[in-house]
């Protein structure tokens, strides 16, 4: 086993199948590869470029310098490409910094007044800000009444296009309200033109519409939406990264981490008393021994009759197995947790180890009004600020996900697949300055898989599933 491991490490790329599991987004790609794609001409997207050849180290040749500058030029061109909106399918959103509010026409007296007031008191900024701060609370209430999340900050009056199937919430006035991450994502991909509202700008425009006509730049959008309603760059990186791949994401209840924060210390104390590693297991074992008086370890572990049955030269195999079962059953003295058993007490999760996104595969039929059960649950973790979760944090996180036992004919057949699937699972998205790694953590029930009950090894399953190969350059 050790030999095959080493072989895999020493020649990772010799295998012809090795390139299958290389992920192009793993490393910076040569932007020259983008030149082969034609963007301006039409929307047909060519297939993505193959991995470019890279050199080992710089040398002073002109040849290398030329390639490098061509790469940089290609990168410059690709990044300088503007976000354009053809007038025929331009979707315009209006930024609402104070949260959801009914349209001015519905509440003419109040809304118009505030708009005018804003314009009048424009030079005195202090007054202005207090006014908006006062407005914030009613806006929240209004948002609840309108059936729109209170953190929504952009509304679209002419929602058209496929994105609104999975993004945004409509209010009574047929406007779709977008959460900050949704608005920023749509703007970034060039599908939404967000305008500054008149109330945010200093110039008194025509006060019939809230639209000042000034398109929000990407820079302004980041400034306005990041940090708004719990959105930070780590969460946004995960959101856009998965959206780009076609997944549908919605906020999970765990997004809002103002609740349950007081319980962190209690959990830590619990962990400390249990202790990590082997000592902890041993301690629990000793406790279990003392707790259960009818312990098989107290008496003779293996009965006399069983000894004799071993000695018998030719026993019916059926009988033999049942006797062996008895031995193994008596040997299983280490307690284990059945994930299917109902929990007496559920520990509260602590941020950041709590589910913040529900993720749906592109193939899952999704309705905004009644989202189905999530395909994946994602917790977002900042790699620079967070250590490896404690056992208590991890099990609290897993307990917060629904029971999803392995099922299906393949799962029933293959033991390793069952163990890998687990009974509950959660995905940790670890983010380091824009680089995201996804880890899947599952609650595997080893205790439920009694190996001694299997009918002997199957010859064709000796090798197991292919192990992931070491990759890299």
């Amino acid at each position: 086993m050790a030999d095959t491991d080493e072989a895999a490490i020493h020649m990772p790329s010799n295998d012809s199948s090795a390139h299958i599991d290389t992920d192009l987004s793993d490393e910076t790609q040569d932007f020259r590869m983008l030149n082969h794609l034609t963007f301006l001409t039409d929307g047909s997207q060519g297939s993505l470029p193959k991995r470019g050849e890279k050199d080992f180290e710089p040398n002073p040749t002109l040849f290398q310098a030329d390639i490098l500058s061509a790469s940089r030029q290609a990168m410059h061109n690709a990044l300088a490409y503007p976000r354009l909106h053809h007038p025929r399918n331009q979707v315009i959103g209006i930024y609402a910094p104070d949260g959801p509010a009914p349209p001015p026409l519905a509440q003419p007296s109040k809304q118009m007044d505030t708009v005018l007031e804003d314009n009048d008191t424009q030079p005195q900024q202090t007054e202005d800000t207090t006014a908006t701060a006062g407005d914030a609370e009613p806006a929240k209430v209004a948002g609840m009444e309108m059936g729109v999340p209170a953190e929504s900050c952009v509304y679209v009056s002419n929602p058209k296009g496929q994105y609104f199937k999975t993004i945004g919430r409509a209010d009574r006035w047929n406007r779709v309200w977008l959460l900050p991450e949704e608005a920023l994502y749509l703007l970034e991909r060039g599908s939404l033109d967000i305008r500054w509202p008149v109330s945010s700008t200093g110039c008194p425009g025509e006060s019939e519409t809230a639209d000042s006509g000034i398109p929000m730049s990407l820079q302004a959008a980041y400034a306005c939406f990041l940090g708004h309603g719990g959105l930070n760059m780590e969460r946004f990186s995960v959101y856009t990264g998965l959206r780009r791949l076609g997944y549908t994401l919605v906020r999970a209840p765990g997004w809002y981490d103002d609740a349950d924060e007081g319980d962190c210390s209690a959990e830590d104390a619990q962990v400390q008393s249990r202790g990590p590693g082997l000592a902890g297991v041993f301690g629990r074992f000793m406790q279990w021994l003392s707790d259960s008086p009818s312990c098989p370890a107290a008496g003779p572990l293996v009965g006399l009759g069983i000894h004799r049955s071993y000695g018998g030269p030719r026993l019916a195999s059926q009988l033999m197995f049942s006797r062996l079962d008895d031995i193994y059953r008596k040997l299983s003295i280490i307690p284990w947790q059945d994930p299917t058993a109902p929990r007496s007490e559920s520990r509260p999760t602590s941020p950041p180890f709590r589910v913040v996104f529900h993720v749906y595969k592109p193939s899952t039929p999704f309705r905004k009004s009644a989202p189905p059960a999530a395909d994946f649950r994602v917790a977002v973790v900042n790699a620079r600020e967070t250590a490896v979760p404690t056992l208590a944090q991890m099990s609290a996180l897993l307990d917060s996900t629904p029971l999803d036992p392995p099922k299906g004919p393949r799962m029933d057949r293959v033991l390793s697949l069952r163990l890998r699937q687990g009974y509950r699972s959660v995905i940790l998205a670890v983010v380091d300055q824009g680089v995201v790694s996804y880890l899947r953590v599952a609650d595997s029930a080893f205790g439920k898989e009694k190996l001694y009950k299997l009918q002997g090894p199957k010859p064709n399953q000796k090798r197991g599933p292919p192990r992931p190969r070491a990759k890299g350059r």
Binding site: L48, H76, L84, C203, I214, A223, N232, G434
Partner: protein, 320 residues
């Protein structure tokens, strides 16, 4: 591409992260200061993939600090710049800005329209040529061979015959261009201008951030001296999460070179677990990189000598 942006370059500090939105600044910092950052935005031209990403560029706090210490950049509180800037916006500025965008949008629209027209003409031309070639082939080949693959050589042979139809073709082309010229103004008037979402707010807000919006030096992790040391040696550094380390060190621009080292910073008097070194060494060798640990002598008091006192060690799995 070789434009030099105005120094210092403003680095936007938003919700705890550092961003650059100007493409000129991004290329300049990459070319002149070996600062790559991580592109974290969606490329609008191919939005459904994660291989090539676009603006904004997210900088590590270390990168931002390094640039500020070099005097190349300054940290700007972008949220307040935007809100205050918009509040202070004058009507004249607004009009000017909108006209600017309108002009740009019209220009792009015209460019696209003319390109489309060009493509249409090319396509038409191709179709005509094919037609002509087919017709000529039928005429020229008296005893018609049942199926002759139209290779390049045959079409070239037929070119002289195509000449017969040249006049006809020209006429058609003329017609085509007439049509296009009559159509172009109508489309331009019908659909005015492209809407544009600019990447930066530079032409709307004052370019120079006012002093009250400037922020102090970014807080950096304890690995900063090692970062600065490797950077001063000419390495390009990027976040190391993919390989389970702190930084990846590239000998040249990551666009063209593979990384050489997995970098982990340690304290000067920190006791290391031998297992970590073996794990790092094995991992590094497995992905054809060296495992590099290093740190600064904390006993040195002032910043200058601390940077000079960084020591680094490269560890390789010998596999003996």
């Amino acid at each position: 591409m070789n434009t030099e942006p105005n120094l210092p370059i403003p680095i936007s500090h938003i919700a705890g992260s550092y961003f650059i939105f100007s493409i000129d600044a991004v290329t300049y910092l990459r070319r002149e200061h070996h600062i790559c950052g991580v592109l974290s935005g969606t490329l609008p031209q191919i939005p459904q993939q994660n291989v090539f990403l676009g603006l904004p560029l997210e900088l590590m706090a270390e990168e931002a600090r390094l640039l500020v210490e070099k005097g190349v950049a300054c940290i700007v509180d972008e949220v307040n710049v935007q809100t205050d800037g918009m509040k202070a916006l004058m009507e004249a500025d607004r009009q000017r800005y909108l006209q600017e965008l309108q002009a740009q949008g019209t220009q792009v629209m015209q460019m696209q329209a003319s390109r489309k027209e060009q493509q249409r003409e090319e396509a038409l031309k191709k179709i005509e040529e094919k037609k002509a070639a087919n017709a000529a082939k039928k005429k020229a080949s008296q005893p018609p061979p049942p199926q002759q693959p139209a290779t390049d050589s045959t079409t070239r042979d037929d070119e002289s015959v195509v000449g017969l139809f040249a006049g006809d073709q020209k006429q058609q082309q003329q017609q085509g261009s007439d049509q296009s010229s009559s159509r172009r103004p109508s489309t331009a008037t019908a659909s005015h201008a492209m809407g544009i979402t600019p990447a930066t707010s530079h032409s709307l807000l004052p370019l120079e951030p006012s002093a009250k919006h400037k922020l102090p030096l970014p807080n950096v992790p304890s690995s900063y001296p090692l970062f600065a040391h490797l950077h001063s040696e000419g390495y390009f550094l990027s976040p190391g999460l993919r390989f389970g380390c702190q930084y990846l060190a590239y000998p040249g621009d990551p666009l063209r070179f593979h990384s050489h080292f997995l970098v982990v910073s340690t304290g000067w008097h920190e006791e290391l677990d031998l297992m970590e070194i073996i794990a790092g060494g094995r991992l590094g060798t497995g992905v054809k990189k060296g495992f590099l640990i290093g740190g600064a002598d904390e006993t040195a008091s002032d910043h200058e000598s601390r940077e000079a006192d960084v020591r680094t060690f490269s560890i390789e799995w010998a596999g003996m």
